[in-house]
């Protein structure tokens, strides 16, 4: 089909899922400036929800919808913590949410405990069909991100990310926007998680741990916090390089760690920031406010 091998199709599918996942965090951390070190928990909630629903005989659509709703609801609840704690405290709280999620999943026999869930139904669309489904959702996510960024809500997020207190002073309902960011971002993570579950068809608690949370944060940060296109490029590259080149897979974490460190140390604006440095005039018109470094 399309002259693509099965291997290439699975690469593109993984890439599409990573892009959706990274953009979901970009909504919370990039647009609204609320750092999260436990985003993989929502990816996990989506994956588990859809897996359990479809294993109980529900169609794929219900599974995905359930994943989105469930992850979004839990995300909304976690969003309330962002009203209580800020900055570093929020980073540690969300990290705690991530560990709590894994801890509960490990002990909960209904979802397989440590063993995880196997035999998750496939999409029933075949590999190429599923790839198109993922790409479709990916395009929708990108369009949604771009639209949101230029909407009234996007500007409000921007103001909150810049300075929460000032945003409040000028009359923005900061709490409501923060909750909205968490609910939308985590719901999208749920979508990505559901797609992941039907793609690999086996999940266990370890698939959604701290390393995954950091990996997705790496995609957002390396792409350039808040920049939609930067994040897409970073997510696509970082998800596919380790699958593509076996040598990199061995040293995947060293690469992620090193890149995260080097990016922050030398170019905190990420790829988008680098692009702006190299092409200052071309992008100055539309990119002002793209990155908040």
């Amino acid at each position: 089909m399309l002259g693509l091998s099965g291997y290439e199709i699975s690469l593109i599918t993984s890439m599409g899922i990573a892009v959706i996942f990274a953009l979901s965090l970009n909504l919370i951390t990039g647009f609204c400036g609320q750092i999260s070190l436990g985003h993989a928990a929502f990816y996990g909630i989506g994956a588990y929800s859809s897996a359990m629903l479809t294993k109980a005989g529900m169609p794929l659509g219900v599974g995905i919808l359930g994943a989105v709703i469930f992850a979004g609801l839990v995300g909304l609840a976690v969003g309330f913590t962002s009203l209580r704690v800020r900055h570093d405290f929020l980073a540690i709280t969300t990290m705690g949410v991530g560990f709590l999620f894994i801890g509960i999943m490990r002990q909960w026999d209904f979802v397989g405990g440590e063993m995880g869930v196997s035999g998750i139904p496939g999409s029933g669309l075949g590999k190429p069909g599923f790839m198109f489904l993922v790409l479709g959702f990916g395009v929708l996510t990108v369009l949604f991100s771009l639209h949101l960024k230029r909407s009234w809500m996007g500007y409000a997020f921007d103001a909150i990310a810049d300075d929460e207190d000032t945003a409040r002073v000028i009359g923005l309902d900061v709490s409501r926007y923060k909750l909205a960011a968490f609910a939308m971002g985590t719901a999208l993570a749920g979508l990505a998680g559901a797609l992941y579950a039907h793609n690999v068809r086996f999940i266990d608690p370890e698939s959604f741990g701290f390393v995954e949370s950091i990996t997705v944060l790496a995609m957002v940060v390396i792409g350039g916090i808040g920049s939609v296109f930067g994040v897409i490029i970073a997510a696509a590259l970082l998800s596919v390089l380790p699958l593509w080149i076996q040598f990199i897979d061995e040293y995947k974490l060293l690469l992620y760690g090193g890149l995260l460190f080097a990016m922050m140390r030398f170019s905190p604006g990420g790829l988008a920031g680098l692009a702006k440095q190299i092409l200052p005039k071309k992008s100055s018109l539309k990119a002002s406010g793209d990155t908040k470094a």
Binding site: D88, I92, L254, M264, R265
Partner: protein, 286 residues
């Protein structure tokens, strides 16, 4: 007797958390950075401890070498990694630190192998009976060692001139600087002492588990972050209390809640619960 035994186990675990967390909270007080890579230094401390002990047969020498090397490396991390990005938004240093930590773990894995290394003749494994409870000599050493080190630190901080300067700088860096304090010197000292204490914790954990592995820093790292948040970020006394409290809560929690939550989840459930009620931490000032 179970209660007392659990309390003792909890306090031993809490002592180790305390040694790791003190350095972390001091760095936070000075620089407002969540120094995640601190746990990478803890792991390195464990490796050096085991390697030197196996080579020379002396645990004490290993402890000293480990503290020195790790302390110096801590200073280097400050100079090379944090100093250039201090004026950036806080998430920059946090993410850089996480990246550094992950890279450090990977370097240990590549250098020393994924399965870890052990003592050839594990020291301090004898069993002692105190007040009717049974502890290993190593656990007693952890408790006493922590007391001595934290006591020495408290004396240094309260009785010496440099200690006073140090405390003043941690409390309010800008004010201290305006009084003529060389805050760069204080930062170096701060990183040296904090990292050396983490190295001691690393050697001790290596002793208790008789194993050093690349990822042994992960759990203490996240726990220590939780602890300094509970202690009210930058507050040394609060951090020490929070460390011991968390050790004890985990010890009891694993017995009574173990069927629902594992040890780490209990710690973080406690963290989230406390933060929702007191966003400034258990012992932090509002």
């Amino acid at each position: 007797m179970l209660y007392v035994e659990l309390l003792a186990q909890g306090l031993v675990q809490g002592s180790i958390y305390a040694l790791v967390a003190v350095g972390l909270t001091l760095v936070y007080g000075l620089l407002r950075i969540l120094h995640v890579a601190h746990a990478g230094l803890f792991t390195l401390g464990g490796y050096i401890g085991v390697l030197v002990t196996n080579a020379t047969g002396s645990l004490l020498l290993a402890l000293v070498v480990s503290m020195l090397v790790v302390g110096l490396l801590g200073m280097a991390i400050y100079r090379l990694c944090y100093q250039p990005i201090l004026d950036k938004p806080p998430y920059v240093a946090l993410i850089a630190s996480i990246g550094l930590f992950i890279a450090m773990e990977e370097i240990y894995r590549i250098a020393f192998g994924p399965y870890g290394i052990s003592y050839e003749n594990p020291p301090l494994q004898d069993v002692v009976h105190i007040f009717g409870i049974t502890l290993r000599l190593g656990e007693v050493a952890v408790g006493i060692g922590t007391l001595v080190l934290i006591g020495a630190l408290a004396l240094f901080a309260s009785k010496t001139r440099f200690g006073t300067v140090w405390r003043a700088t941690v409390t309010d860096p800008e004010m201290a600087e305006s009084f003529g304090v060389d805050i760069i010197k204080v930062r170096y000292l701060n990183f040296f002492i904090g990292s050396a204490l983490a190295a001691v914790a690393g050697v001790m954990v290596a002793l208790l588990n008789n194993l050093v592995e690349p990822t042994m820093g992960s759990v203490p790292s996240y726990k220590a972050l939780a602890i300094i948040v509970l202690g009210g970020l930058g507050d040394v006394r609060g951090t020490l209390l929070a460390a011991l409290a968390l050790g004890v809560i985990e010890a009891y929690g694993t017995i009574y809640l173990g069927n629902y939550l594992d040890r780490d989840a209990i710690a973080f459930a406690f963290l989230i619960l406390v933060l929702m009620v007191r966003p400034q931490g258990l012992f932090g000032r509002a």
